[in-house]
Symmetry: C2
Subunit: 346 residues, 2 copies
């Protein structure tokens, strides 16, 4: 995975490494006044801001056996941009902290930054600051993302109302099935290091896991169509968990229709191959980084114009609970089995 040259990080030191990583960074957004190189970045926002941060820890959030460093850098940015889009805001700046052990070379750090910079280019975001330091063991990446939006267009989780329609973008469960494939092949590899790794044919779901995208396009569609969702959240922990967040914080109930939950044919069949009920991949899989949101019923026709948005249910009175209406015509309580970074500790 690394290039053939290996430069020790200690040979450059913190400031040498920062100079190397920062040398080709340009600031593109008007609100980015000053970037890397001082005690703090300077930002002059033009609208109200949203600020989010996520920490990714080796051995908990990623496994370098099957995660290319460039993809890791890319994904560490995407998971934060997804949180900004989930507020209906446009990301403008990121700051990146990396703690890294001496098992990694300067070239390895450069690969991580290639992914970070690629994400910045794709999503028109400026890398304005951060921190780089040693770690006794493993790799830790913390990203902060800052976005902007008119104050009255920012969308939170706690404003869904009875009668609103529940919508989701893209398709669900793919990232989880991608992870399942990667973990299976890792076990094959660990048991027989000379065995060939069989990832071919699984490109879609592996990309969903290793190189997710954030739904910039949907936020742009909302702006074009003058739609303001009544509540929104991104799907990082799984559909169940996110629906429960919206319902709890908005003090409403919900009926989710199993038949309407978008699952790609490939994910669906792959789940069956592994003996997993496909709906469970969507409900509990997580890491799809799609948007879950509610709209006024009057926005239904406009939302239906978008081929990548599905209406999957309806917000109800809190007394009706948070329910899954199954294909078989039964109602089940939705409970959170989604990924929990503290309960799943290895």
């Amino acid at each position: 995975m690394e290039k053939t040259t290996r430069t020790e990080i200690a040979s450059l030191g913190e400031f040498g490494l920062i100079d190397k990583l920062a040398k080709d960074i340009e600031l593109k957004n008007a609100s980015s006044v000053k970037g890397i190189g001082d005690d703090a970045a300077i930002i002059q926002p033009e609208q109200t801001q949203v600020v989010t941060t996520d920490i990714l820890v080796e051995g908990i959030h990623f496994d370098l056996v099957y995660t290319p460093l460039k993809h890791l850098g890319y994904k560490s940015v995407i998971v934060n941009l997804s949180d900004v889009y989930a507020m209906n805001a446009i990301p403008k700046q990121i700051l990146v902290s990396i703690a890294i052990s001496n098992r990694f070379s300067v070239e390895a750090v450069e690969e991580i930054y290639e992914g970070i910079k690629l994400a910045c280019r794709q999503y028109n975001v400026d890398l304005v600051g951060g921190d780089t330091t040693a770690s006794p063991k493993g790799l830790i990446i913390n990203v902060v993302a800052i976005g902007e939006q008119d104050k009255n267009k920012i969308v939170t989780r706690n404003t869904a109302k009875e009668g609103d329609l529940l919508c989701v973008t893209g398709d669900l469960g793919g990232a989880y099935m991608g992870l399942t494939i990667l973990q299976r092949e890792k076990q094959v590899f660990l048991q027989a290091p000379t065995a060939s790794i069989e990832l071919s044919g699984n490109d879609y779901i592996i990309a969903r896991q290793l190189k997710p995208e954030a739904r910039k396009d949907i936020i742009e569609f909302f702006a074009q169509q003058q739609i303001i969702p009544t509540s929104m959240i991104d799907i990082s922990d799984g559909l169940s968990s996110e629906i429960l967040h919206i319902c709890k914080q908005s003090n409403v109930g919900c009926q989710l229709n199993e038949a309407d939950v978008p699952i790609s044919n490939f994910t669906y069949n792959k789940a069956l191959d592994f003996g997993i009920d496909p709906i469970n991949c969507a409900l509990s899989g997580g890491e799809d980084y799609e948007l879950l949101f509610t709209i006024l019923p009057s926005d239904k026709n406009r939302v239906n114009q978008h081929p990548d948005i599905c209406i999957i249910g309806e917000i109800t009175d809190a007394n009706l609970g948070v329910k899954l209406y199954t294909k078989g015509g039964n109602y089940h309580d939705i409970i959170s089995l989604g990924w929990d970074g503290l309960k799943n500790e290895g």
Copy 2:
């Protein structure tokens, strides 16, 4: 160090832990519109912003053998607030990411947060967001601090001019001598766990290391006196390193007068006890979190009114280099031996 009750973090999970930690948090600053509990915090800054982030890693930046968790939480905030003050700005919000192994209990995390919340109260800062997750090993804390100031009052490192006076707050080298004492007593303890730890009488320098403060008072003094430093940086890595940053980025030289560098009598004598030249504690010790800044010569009298600011040198033409004028009347090049989080990897 921990309380007698031990609750496993996994028994609460991420959302349970966040609910517990966030329950008594109030937002005090007008620009903090919405805090913990959504995909992102919402901020409506009234002035230009400065944003900084620092990651603290167990085994690199702190040693829990002698660092109480509450102090660690406090210090993790202070080091970031110090960066905000070093831009002549007023900190308003922080976000905190913690990755923590299952060796720590819920009560331990609560102790860290007690320190974080104490720092927020002391410095009038709002905790508006963050992330809490598992770590396979050790404790990692990443803090983001956001501050505000009028755009024309923000001070950077790269604007010192020939003839400006170089100033520093407080006294230097104490944090380093505090660390030296703590490390000595740790060795005594490791070699003979029943031996008594001898920290008494060293309160000042141990507090400088374990519970540093950021110079809010100095930024308030600048505002009262209508002083705008011509450049500024905080002392995290050591006086030498910080002077070199200002000189390199401002393209100037400097004469630092050894006789004028403030070192407390206690630090001075303790350094001699350990066979260390006291000036080296100040030049290379780091972690004092004092402010180093330059002023116009016309501000000299106003700065002299403050008992805790020393004028320690003068900015010169770049061709004259960055020099220490010793008590013995010699000139030495100032070189950076300060702490480097990547070169000092254990």
